[in-house]
């Protein structure tokens, strides 16, 4: 178990500035997920921790040891790759034993470790097979087995589930989480899938264009996004963004939408410019069945445009302030397109953003 400290990390490929000053502390034993859209530098960051990319500028230390000039094999880390990286010419046993053999471990110790890892992953029966005889999920298990036999101080995952089909992905996600609970090793996991990030992480590090946009616990990042980008990246269906104008409504500030709707702001804010963006997640924009207006509640009535039932809940598309928004209701009885639906949301779930900087302001 060990912690990773990264400070002032820069990295360029030719003229492309991939990492633009990363400062990050990964506490020992935690499951940290690096997440972001493709090209945000998350994989490069992981590969730099692994030593597969050289540090351009800045420092990386693992367990207090600066590893900038250490080769990958001297960092005592294990890495699971997207395409499993299994050697087709070696049996499953030899694939798992590869790292141990590379370190010239004694044969009986190799056997012991491979067998216990195989046991743990439920692939004991596959040890004599070759990778091409395995299914995607089995390959993934072998790849994980190869990493855990090494008993590394740090475990790195580079989009390990992206080549699996949806059902297997859910299953393996659970297993990886369990693995972390059982082993307690520090894990760093890269993904572009926000659901994987939310479900697996102790801590999410959300990256964008070579910088860390926000980090924190999944819930914290989800509920208190620092920027419009973070709010838009996490959550499915996506958060609704509605633009409007900042107006004064007597004692308090309010937001006026292009369709005339007035939404009061919970707090006063410095009036940065005239426009403001309201973010409200679909699950917070529910159907209103009560005619009374509670404190801090905003009520709206809109004609339904599209109805998408999923079984457990129903997504209703309406137009608010000129933008298409999705509301999520639990009931199936939402009405039909063209009919009017009554909606409400609580102001405490609303997030307001500055449209130019993208920062959350209230």
């Amino acid at each position: 178990m060990s912690d990773v400290r990264i400070s002032g990390l820069h990295k360029t490929f030719g003229t492309v500035h991939v990492l633009k000053g990363i400062d990050l502390e990964i506490p020992a034993g935690e499951f940290t997920v690096l997440v972001g859209p493709s090209g945000c530098g998350k994989s490069t960051l992981l590969r730099t921790i692994a030593g597969l990319e050289e540090v351009g500028q800045g420092d990386i230390s693992i367990s207090g040891v600066n590893v900038n000039s250490l080769r990958p094999r001297d960092r005592n880390i294990a890495m699971v790759f997207q395409n499993y990286a299994l050697y087709p010419y070696l049996s499953v046993f030899e694939n798992i034993a590869f790292g141990l053999r590379a370190r010239k471990m004694e044969d009986h110790e190799v056997r012991l470790r491979v067998n216990s890892a195989a046991d743990m992953l439920g692939i004991t029966g596959l040890l004599d097979r070759f990778p091409k005889q395995l299914s995607g999920g089995q390959r993934q298990r072998v790849a994980i087995g190869r990493a855990i036999v090494r008993k590394p101080q740090l475990f790195l995952f580079d989009e390990p589930l992206s080549n699996l089909d949806a059902q297997l992905r859910d299953e393996m996600r659970g297993e990886i989480k369990k693995l972390h609970q059982d082993l307690g090793i520090t894990m760093v996991y890269v993904t572009h899938d926000q659901i994987e990030a939310m479900t697996l992480a102790d801590r999410i590090v959300l990256m964008r264009e070579g910088r860390i946009e926000q980090m924190g616990s999944p819930l914290n990042v989800y509920e208190q996004p620092a920027t419009r980008f973070v709010a838009g990246f996490l959550g499915s269906p996506k958060i609704n963004f509605i633009s409007g104008e900042l107006v004064d409504a007597g004692d308090r500030q309010a937001m006026r939408l292009s369709d005339g709707e007035i939404i009061p702001l919970p707090k006063r804010t410095q009036a940065w410019g005239q426009s403001i963006v309201l973010g409200i997640r679909p699950q917070h924009l529910g159907r209103s069945t009560d005619s009374k207006v509670k404190a801090g509640e905003v009520k709206l009535s809109r004609p339904i445009e599209i109805v998408q039932p999923t079984g457990s809940r129903t997504y209703v598309t309406i137009k608010i302030g000129g933008t298409q928004c999705i509301a999520e209701t639990e009931s199936m009885e939402t009405g039909r397109p063209g009919e009017t639906i009554d909606l409400s949301f609580d102001l405490q779930h609303a997030i307001f953003f500055d449209p130019t900087s993208g920062a959350a302001i209230i």
């Binding site: 597969l52 990286a85 299994l86 590869f98 790292g99 590379a102 790195l156």
Partner: protein
């Protein structure tokens, strides 16, 4: 009615294709047949007018003479020179190709230079090499020719292996690096086994090129390491050629090539087109 005539046209077309194909077969295969058949003829059959199209019985006397006179040693020489130089060229060339692919060592300029060496006329480099070898006392030695064959085949090996190495997923190597392999270990434990089919195919073609080589052997051998290609030309003599020996020696040198290449049919196109066609 129409269907019938379409079918008939198709049949005639197919017959035509077989006809043409057979003509081509005769043109391309008959000379080889003639070479081999002469090696099995008696002197009377060889020097008979009109020519004898097939011998009454297969005589191995012509081959026996080659072995008795010791001329067949030239086939062994070819085997040693081609074999050893191929092994060395494969090891060095694959290492170099790996560096070109993974680290872009030397960039495009170096790659262009390497491949251009493959296309240089041997005659233009053999003269200075000859003078160097005379100075070093390497003429008519195994070592001298092996070095030259290795060097001359290197561009081909580098070129072909470059293509095969590019097909190896980078993740396999990175995984090995993380798992505790040095760069050298990655080369031996991942790259060589991953590229083994390509290594094998390239090695066979490299071997064939060295085996069939003529100019270098002509210039740099005297008596000790004469190759079969040079030995064949020793039987030419103005008006009186040693036909039986020419044919038998050529056949001895050609049969191994036919066997190896026919085992490698599916690599043939990629092999002779220098990787231009991957098939």
């Amino acid at each position: 009615m129409t269907n019938l005539s379409v079918a008939a046209t198709r049949r005639w077309k197919l017959a035509g294709r077989y006809g043409l194909a057979s003509l081509l077969l005769v043109f391309f295969v008959f000379p080889i047949y003639w070479l081999f058949i002469i090696s099995f003829k008696t002197p009377d059959e060889i020097f008979h007018f009109p020519p004898v199209w097939y011998p009454k019985s297969l005589q191995f006397a012509n081959y026996a003479v080659l072995f008795k006179d010791g001329d067949a040693v030239s086939v062994l020489n070819s085997l040693i020179l081609a074999g050893v130089s191929t092994v060395i060229a494969m090891i060095f060339g694959t290492m170099c190709a790996y560096s070109l692919v993974r680290f872009k060592t030397g960039g495009e300029d170096f790659a262009v230079w390497v491949i251009s060496q493959r296309l240089m006329p041997p005659i233009a480099i053999i003269f200075p090499i000859f003078l160097l070898y005379v100075y070093l006392g390497w003429v008519d030695s195994y070592g001298g020719l092996i070095i030259l064959y290795t060097a001359f085949n290197l561009p081909y090996v580098i070129w072909m292996m470059r293509g095969y190495i590019e097909d190896i997923p980078l993740e396999l190597e990175e995984s090995a690096l993380v798992d505790g392999c040095s760069r050298w270990a990655v080369l031996w434990k991942v790259v060589f086994p991953m590229a083994r089919t390509g290594l094998f195919a390239t090695a066979v073609f490299t071997f064939v090129f060295a085996w069939n080589e003529f100019i270098f052997a002509l210039v740099l051998t005297r008596t000790e390491v004469v190759t079969y290609t040079v030995q064949v030309t020793h039987y030419f003599g103005g008006q009186s050629n040693f036909w039986a020996k020419i044919a038998a020696m050529s056949a001895l040198g050609t049969v191994p090539v036919f066997i190896t290449v026919s085992l490698l049919q599916r690599f043939l196109v990629r092999g002779i087109s220098m990787g231009a066609v991957k098939g």
